[in-house]
């Protein structure tokens, strides 16, 4: 329990968000939406970390999340640059159409 909030609620919410993120990453075709889904997965992990940290009575969970946010920002900047670079070649970011490299 974290105050009146049961940990299992936190974790279930986190798990649901993670699963939704996976679903988006697997089912969307647009690279941006896939990446948004991956961001959602990382946020789900953040929620779990904060929930655990609070339940365990340590701030380490928050510290981890702090770093994860920094990493996510960095990842986003590189990702967006990659999207721009590929868009210059293919005029699309639909991953179904980006399959020059195969077999």
């Amino acid at each position: 329990m974290i105050g009146p909030i049961p940990l299992s609620h936190v974790l279930l919410a986190s798990g649901a968000l993670f699963a939704i993120g996976v679903a988006g990453a697997l089912l969307r075709r647009n690279a941006i939406q896939i990446f948004l889904s991956i961001e959602l997965m990382m946020n789900a992990a953040n929620l779990a970390l904060i929930g655990y940290g609070a339940a365990l009575g340590t701030q380490q969970g928050q510290i981890i999340v702090f770093f994860v946010i920094a990493i996510a920002a960095a990842e986003a900047s590189v990702g967006l640059a990659i999207f721009v670079a590929i868009f210059r070649h293919t005029e699309t970011i639909d991953v179904n159409k980006i399959n020059l490299l195969k077999w």
């Binding site: 968000l17 939704i20 959602l40 701030q59 920002a73």
Partner: protein, 170 residues
């Protein structure tokens, strides 16, 4: 009361996450995700992490998602249109596996959340929402991480520059 707010916020986060995934229009997706992130920030406050909640709003919702919006506008990406090629295997296996995975994950989390193996002896001062303590922790135990992440940010910065600058920049 707090429990109720938490559940409501979590529900909002989940629903809007679902909308983000379900929508074909990337702009709507970004907006839905922004709502979801706001709701998550609310849960962070309730979980004694106001500092992270602020970061969540400023960095995630504020900076990253706006960047996404900007990019979508820049590249003029429209909604996903059916491309005429059906991919039943990917869709079917993808959905099925997500359902199985969600079942496994939620089952495990429910069981483990009920009995946390950790020990709440250290709960005292450390657990309070105290950014100062957080800062201390950051520069003592997590000093190396802090330094390491600076390398990561540097690499990302240079990398983004390498990839996105104009071709004739040389």
């Amino acid at each position: 009361m707090e429990r109720l707010i938490f559940d409501a916020a979590a529900l909002v986060a989940i629903v809007f996450a679902g909308l983000m995934v379900a929508g074909r229009d990337p702009i709507k997706s970004v907006l839905a995700l922004a709502v979801s992130f706001f709701a998550l920030a609310v849960t962070y406050v309730l979980l004694l992490a106001p500092f992270i909640a602020a970061l969540q709003i400023i960095v995630y919702a504020g900076a990253i998602l706006v960047l996404f919006l900007f990019l979508i506008m820049l590249l003029n990406v429209g909604p996903e249109r059916p491309d005429g090629v059906r991919r039943p295997v990917q869709t079917f296996l993808g959905s099925l596996s997500v359902v199985v995975f969600a079942g496994l994950l939620l089952g495990m989390l429910r069981a483990s959340g009920a009995r946390l193996p950790g020990q709440p002896e250290a709960v005292a001062a450390d657990a309070l929402p105290d950014p100062k303590a957080l800062g201390r922790l950051l520069f003592s135990d997590y000093l190396l991480h802090f330094e390491a992440v600076s390398v990561l940010l540097l690499a990302a910065l240079v990398g983004a520059f390498v990839l996105a600058r104009r071709e004739n920049a040389q």
